[in-house]
């Protein structure tokens, strides 16, 4: 990549991101602006996919909400992502954990 673009991107990266890995159970707090007010929304789930390309570093988090699978993609360097905390770590054997989508019940979030 061109040096100038590297510099532009480097100045926008967050320096204090935790080392999120695939299979981690994370708690992502994102800023939500409603009616002029700002609040934090928490999203807890398993990281089933990642992209590690500079500013576009993103995680795909999956959780089961009221029996329904929900997935959300977060751009970790976005100013809208307030914090990321790793709650639990697992060692999966795949780069993408899309097989979890087929699972039902207790095993749905067991990596």
């Amino acid at each position: 990549m061109n040096n100038i673009i590297k510099q532009i991107e480097a100045s926008r990266l967050k320096g204090d991101l935790p080392g999120v890995k695939i299979g981690d159970t994370v708690d992502v707090k994102s800023k939500i602006i409603e009616g002029g007010k700002e609040r934090l929304q928490s999203f807890k789930g398993v990281v089933i996919g990642m992209k590690n390309t500079g500013v576009n570093k993103m995680v795909k988090v999956r959780k089961i909400s009221f029996g329904v699978g929900v997935e959300k993609t977060f751009l970790l360097h976005s100013p809208l992502v307030a914090s990321v905390a790793v709650m639990k770590s697992e060692k999966p054997r795949r780069a993408k954990l899309y097989y979890l989508r087929k699972r039902i019940g207790k095993s749905a979030l067991a990596v």
């Binding site: 990549m1 061109n2 100038i4 673009i5 532009i8 991107e9 926008r12 800023k31 602006i33 500079g54 500013v55 576009n56 751009l75 360097h77 976005s78 100013p79 809208l80």
Partner: protein, 212 residues
Amino acid sequence: MIGLIGKKIGMTTVFDHSGNTVAVTVVKSGPCVVTDIKTSGKNGYNSLQLGFEEKKKSRLIKPEKAKFEKLKINVPMHIKEFRLNQGADEFKIGQFLTLEIFEKDAFIDVQAVSKGKGFQGVMKKYGFKGGPDTHGSNFHRRLGSAGNNTFPGRIWKNKKMPGRMGNAVKTVQNLKIIEIDKQNNIILLKGSVPGPTNGIVFLKKAAKQRLK
């Protein structure tokens, strides 16, 4: 309309103040040296001729060497003329123009030579629909009928046909300036710009200012 010559560096993503991602093109532009000033009195029209980047000394040819030695300017690599609406009294030959002429959040037009695509058919070049791929069709990516029979008895002029695509001067209008780094001569424009990386682009203030 006063403008600048620049170089396309590439594209990246930035976040705007509300956290949305914006795809931007990075352009390195200026300082551009004024190499000639044309006036309506002398030349019949007003314009500024600008130069961008220096030519290697070993690559100079005698005429340009002599011409620019007289003006006391290093020979520029790229030269482009920008038409002005009024006279160019405030400019001097040898003066440098930088990104100071643009402001953040303003709109500009970008002109450049698009990437050459070679000889292409009508589907890629003009977006013709073509025919069905299956169900026994013998008509796939051709242009279909090219005209009528007795009248006019020939093919109309400007009929869209296969041929060379790209490698033509294209102008993209109303690109928003997301950021200007005046010290490092770098400008970030919302959206894409014609041409390859390291291609030469011309930046001008928007001719048709978009309403905010």
